[in-house]
């Protein structure tokens, strides 16, 4: 009897462990199937497409690196799209992050009305999509739009905005800053996680509020700030709806951005192979930028648990 007990107990424990493993694969099953069908498979297919001249209609031919050669050396629009996207990204990430940081610092105070103001700053960031793109077409109306009206109050004659080669892309950047509320919420959460004891210590040391900001707040906030920068950069490279609704890449090629160029090639010109190559270059750029930020972050992001 003692013998059977000894021999069944390990087997039972093993089967519990196996049961858990089985559960694991059952529970992630839907995701795993979805990953293989809708993400993993398509990624491989996309990579293959990018080496073909497939148009979606004709039979596809293997063209090797031709698509990439053409993109890099033979397609001025590719460089226009790249330049526009970098310009948009730089503008919207800088304004978006600094703006969100400023608002978060202002509203991270226990003063009456700050909760209401947080909501007011936050609402525009959830009000996204086509409806908001349409609102901003109206906002940027050169004759009677609100933006130029406000500028006129300050005595500044407003530009044509979306109708101007020079101002269309800055207009899209300006529009993107309306949505800083999402970053603000994350930064506020980060600010509230800074231990009060650090501020008390700074006060006791007689630190000026300015020193307090640069020596306590900023270092403690830097991991969150880094997260905000990375996510904002990634999403700024994927701007599409605004361009589809507000400018269609124009006037001329003033707002031709990367993803819009992919969309045009794939779904308007049906150059699936060429568009896939573009998508992979976009992915490479995003990955490179993320890695660059990760590498750069070692110099300025402070992680408490790694501090010596």
């Amino acid at each position: 009897m003692g013998l059977t007990a000894a021999s069944t107990r390990p087997r039972k424990r093993l089967s519990l462990r196996q049961r858990e493993e089985l559960d694991f694969y059952l529970f992630i099953g839907l995701w795993l199937v979805g990953f293989l069908l809708f993400t993993g498979g398509p990624i491989l297919a996309s990579l293959l497409f990018s080496f073909t001249n497939w148009t979606g209609l004709t039979t596809q031919e293997w063209v090797g690196l031709e698509n990439f050669r053409k993109l890099l050396f033979d397609d001025p629009l590719f460089w226009v799209a790249t330049r526009n996207t970098f310009f948009y990204s730089l503008g919207s990430v800088l304004l978006g992050t600094l703006g969100a940081l400023a608002v978060a610092l202002l509203l991270n105070q226990k003063l009456p009305g700050t909760t209401l103001m947080r909501v007011l700053y936050y609402i525009p960031s959830i009000a996204s999509g086509v409806a908001v793109s349409i609102l901003w077409i109206w906002m940027f109306n050169p004759q009677v739009g609100l933006v130029n009206y406000l500028l006129s109050l300050a005595g500044i004659p407003g530009p044509l905005w979306l109708g101007s080669q020079q101002w269309a892309l800055p207009a899209l950047i300006l529009k993107s800053t309306w949505a800083i509320g999402a970053n603000m919420i994350v930064l506020l959460a980060g600010l509230q996680a800074v231990p009060a004891s650090l501020y008390e210590a700074a006060k006791i040391d007689g630190a000026h509020p300015w020193d307090e900001f640069f020596n306590v707040t900023l270092p403690m906030l830097s991991p969150v700030l880094f997260y905000v920068l990375v996510i904002s950069t990634i999403s700024s490279f994927q701007i599409l709806t605004d361009v589809l609704v507000m400018t269609q890449g124009g006037p001329g090629t003033a707002t031709l951005v990367f993803v819009y160029y992919i969309y045009q090639n794939a779904f308007q010109y049906l150059k699936m192979g060429y568009a896939s190559a573009l998508a992979w270059i976009l992915f490479a750029i995003i990955l490179a930028l993320t890695l660059l930020q990760l590498w750069g972050s070692k110099k300025w992001v402070y992680y408490e648990d790694q501090a010596a």
Binding site: W31, F38, I134, W136, Q238, V259
Partner: protein, 297 residues
């Protein structure tokens, strides 16, 4: 025993208290002086949208603009919605797709998130890396081959390309829920497991009831994302009677927008309204969900 008092006494009675409260007042004034104009600036586009929606055509082109039009044409909402395109159909379509996708996401993502948070298995870390990796992957890389796949399956001009994938999980939600589940004390479900509860039972009876903020976050983000989804219906749906609000709104803009700003703003506002309502209903839970998982959309 050491005396419990270690803090210096609060400066209630000290002379510099006076000075400090003055400084505090100046500080508050500065905060308001900077934050209030900004808050107004962030709010007026929506107010202006409403103001435009209530105007007659001739009032729209007044410069400087009139903030509260006279008369207030509330009928613009009805006319814009009914007189041009079948917006009731689009609304029904958007609702069906959005609700179904949220339910699909909740089920598939909480299952996967529970597995990643609680169950031990070989290959788990590698698979979780895949979840994280696909979070960073731009959808542009998969949208073209997906289009080819769904077209081959004959799913073009149907809701299937929009409605099937959400039942197979969404990496961002899996990550968000997993982070939240990890924060729930493990002792709770280990006790239940010793009592013989199955994984499904632990998830359903224990973890999910404790995860309302995270689930609310999924519902709100899911609602906003699906409601506003523009690219997928744009490339897949051709028939008018299957179209969704986002694409229909842009069609409306293209066909009638330039001459009818009041209707365009009225309809846009109606399309935006459900997003705002969902946000306000779930706001309390939602903000806690973000704060606890440190995530944004």
């Amino acid at each position: 025993m050491a005396p419990p008092l270690t803090r210096p006494p609060l400066p209630h009675t000290q002379p510099w208290h006076q000075k400090r409260s003055v400084r505090k007042g100046a500080h508050a004034a500065l905060v308001y002086a900077l934050a209030v104009p900004g808050a107004i600036l962030f709010t007026i586009p929506l107010l202006w949208m409403l103001s435009t929606a209530l105007k007659e055509p001739k009032q729209i082109f007044l410069f400087p603009p009139e903030w509260i039009p006279d008369p207030l044409l509330w009928g613009n909402f009805v006319a814009g919605w009914n007189d041009f395109l079948p917006f009731n159909t689009f609304l029904a379509n958007s609702l069906i797709i959005t609700v179904s996708n949220i339910v699909g996401n909740l089920i598939s993502c909480s299952l996967a998130a529970f597995a990643f948070a609680r169950l031990r298995a070989r290959g788990k870390n590698l698979l979780f890396l895949l979840v994280l990796g696909t979070m960073l992957l731009p959808q542009e890389v998969t949208v073209i081959p997906q289009y080819v796949l769904f077209t081959r399956l004959g799913w073009n001009d149907s809701w299937l390309p929009l409605m099937v994938p959400p039942w197979f999980g969404w990496p961002f939600f899996i990550f968000l829920l997993r982070q939240f589940f990890m924060g729930i004390p493990r002792e709770l479900d280990e006790a239940a497991r010793l009592d013989g509860a199955s994984s499904g039972r632990i998830l359903w009876n224990l973890i999910l009831p404790l995860s309302k903020p995270a689930l609310a976050t999924v519902v709100i983000f899911g609602f906003i994302g699906n409601w506003n989804n523009f690219l997928y219906p744009l490339i897949y749906i051709r028939s008018m009677d299957k179209q969704v609000l986002a694409v229909a709104l842009n069609m409306f803009r293209g066909a009638y927008g330039n001459a009818n700003y009041q209707y365009m703003m009225a309809v846009s506002l109606l399309v935006l309204l459900p997003v705002l309502v969902v946000f306000f209903l779930g706001q309390r839970l939602f903000v806690r969900g973000i704060a606890l998982t440190g995530i944004k959309g």
